[in-house]
């Protein structure tokens, strides 16, 4: 949390800023989703309000806020209000614990006649040294939001949607957890920052006792665990309840699933929760398999030195370096978010038994096999070198 008021206030500002970043990305993503779907389906999409339909977002937000606050009389009031919050919080907490860039350093300075010692701030809301375990634990709580929403609505469609959503989340959590065990064994840590530090430099590995370096490839997890990356990506789609896994809100069968009875800002909070889960999923993919905030073949020290040589103070140079690498992570994040949208408007929805068969009979055995093969390979490498 911090030892003096400067550190505490900076940490507080950081937490709020990262939460707002997540929330503010949602309208932009909705715009990308609508324009993107239109582009994929050869339509125009929203193009009347403002340039390229960009102020459509503002119009939507105003509509959400000023919509009549309507609650059906037969609902369970307290849980009906609590459910949108319960589905928003896990995504926000999980996103806050993922490092978005290098930590930045603030040199000692004078304030009100006092010397404020040098500080180090991580570019994330809070640091957890068991990063991935915490993220998995927190995002598994997302099921409660949907379950309570479905049950509190007292509506058959909502309950069915909620049951489908939570059954799907629990089933795919197993495949998700197992698909990352292989890469965790290679990194040997639960900490996100350590994982990203492992992925710096060119691709280097030990092969039959001799060290091999492939200079034109970065040292990213995808080259060690391509199958694990694929499995994680598929399981992530199911965890976020996005198409082709969006059975909880299959319009043809369930109207809108667990949020059938919701409208206005409460509906919007479910949306933010869903997009928050998408952002967490994309951030995990980049952190595990695509080098996190690393820029291939560029060291953070080089950028820091260039900035120092350009006449910036040490604090400003460190801050700017962090911001550069934040932009790198952000670009990777946006690419994955675009793939989420792309897949949604390309693939049709699964049938329910197909969904369960895919989770339990295909992803889970493949993930187990991947884990065992990785363990054997690591063991052989360690004993014969």
């Amino acid at each position: 949390m911090g030892t003096d008021f400067f550190e505490i206030s900076i940490n507080f500002v950081k937490m709020v800023a990262i939460f707002l970043l997540m929330v503010q990305l949602v309208p932009a993503l909705v715009w990308v989703e609508r324009r993107g779907s239109a582009f994929i389906q050869n339509r125009f999409g929203p193009n009347r309000v403002g340039p390229l339909g960009l102020t459509q977002l503002l119009a939507d937000a105003i509509k959400f806020i000023f919509k009549e606050e309507f609650i059906p009389s037969h609902t369970r009031k307290f849980l009906f209000y609590a459910a949108p919050v319960m589905s928003l919080i896990p995504g926000a907490l999980a996103f806050g614990s993922i490092p978005l860039s290098l930590p930045f350093h603030v040199e000692a300075f004078e304030l009100f006649g006092q010397t404020m010692g040098p500080y180090r701030f991580a570019f994330q809301s809070f640091e957890m040294n068991v990063g991935i375990v915490f993220v998995l634990g927190i995002s598994s709580l997302g099921a409660y939001g949907m379950l309570t929403a479905g049950w509190a609505s007292v509506n058959k469609y909502s309950v069915f949607g909620a049951l489908r959503a939570s059954a799907q989340m629990i089933s795919y959590e197993l495949a998700l957890g197992l698909s990352i065990v292989g890469i965790l064994m290679i990194y040997g840590t639960f900490d996100f920052a350590d994982m990203i530090a492992y992925q710096t430099g060119p691709l280097t590995f030990t092969w039959l006792g001799s060290e091999m370096t492939i200079p034109f490839l970065p040292n990213w997890g995808i080259f060690y665990q391509p199958l694990g990356a694929l499995l994680l990506f598929i399981a992530m789609f199911a965890e976020t309840n996005r198409a082709p896994f969006d059975l909880p809100e299959a319009e043809a069968e369930l109207v809108a699933g667990y949020h059938t009875e919701y409208g206005g800002l409460k509906m919007n909070m479910f949306y933010i929760g869903e997009y928050g889960h998408m952002m967490v999923a994309s951030a995990l993919m980049t952190t595990f398999y695509f080098g996190g905030y690393n820029l291939p073949f560029v060291e953070p020290e080089t950028i820091n030195e260039i900035l120092l040589a350009a006449g910036f103070s040490a604090t400003k140079a460190s801050l700017l370096t962090s911001f550069t690498f934040f932009l790198v992570l952000f670009t990777k994040l946006l690419i994955f978010l675009w793939i989420f949208i792309w897949v949604r408007w390309t693939l049709p929805r699964f049938r329910y038994d197909q969904l369960m068969d895919l989770g339990w009979k295909k992803l889970l055995p493949w993930a187990l096999g991947n884990t065992i093969v990785t363990a054997v390979v690591i063991f052989v490498m360690k004993t014969w070198s």
């Binding site: 849980l79 068991v130 375990v133 998995l136 634990g137 099921a143 379950l147």
Partner: protein, 174 residues
């Protein structure tokens, strides 16, 4: 009092309130949701006690999977009759008194035993990343038999549940 102590007392009071909610609400779904809140709060107590891995596992397994299943199953049933059957009758009354006595005995025993517990130096684990490694080493060397036996027990339960559900045709009934 420092920050950790204050946080601990807040969490401890929350745990007591939530667990009272589990037993005192009439609606089983509210009970299950209170149980989930208890589990989450307990996880945060583990965080405070510098056991982040246990805390994460607590979140994943208990709050994220077990209690979700409780809530899911309870939503499928209309539990009015069972509730009445459980709140009336001499046998259930005896059970309630017996379990209250058992709980009192547990609390008394815990207080009595805890005065003799002394944490020796090497039991305090490293706060940082090493603690997970120490835990794994202990699990797979000293306690490997108990660990594997528990795994087999869980497997047996899973197989038993599947076989019971298949007696009536299971999920893929034709």
């Amino acid at each position: 009092m420092d920050m950790t102590t204050i946080l601990f007392y807040i969490l401890a009071i929350a745990i007591v309130v939530f667990s009272l909610g589990v037993v005192m609400t009439a609606n089983p779904i509210f009970s299950a949701l209170f149980l989930a809140l208890t589990m989450v709060t307990l996880a945060f107590v583990y965080f405070l006690l510098n056991a982040p891995f246990i805390a994460g596992v607590q979140l994943i397994v208990y709050a994220g999977a077990v209690v979700v299943l409780f809530v899911m199953v309870m939503m499928l049933f209309d539990l009015k009759q069972e509730k009445e059957a459980f709140t009336k009758g001499k046998f259930t009354g005896f059970l309630k008194i017996a379990s209250a006595g058992w709980l009192c005995g547990l609390i008394a025993g815990a207080i009595y035993m805890s005065t003799e517990m002394v944490v020796s130096g090497n039991q305090i684990l490293d706060v940082n990343k090493a603690s997970t490694k120490i835990l794994a080493k202990e699990l797979f060397s000293n306690y490997v038999f108990a660990f594997e036996a528990l795994g087999i027990l869980l497997l047996l339960i899973a197989v038993g549940a599947v076989s019971i559900s298949r007696i009536k045709g299971g999920t893929h009934a034709k």
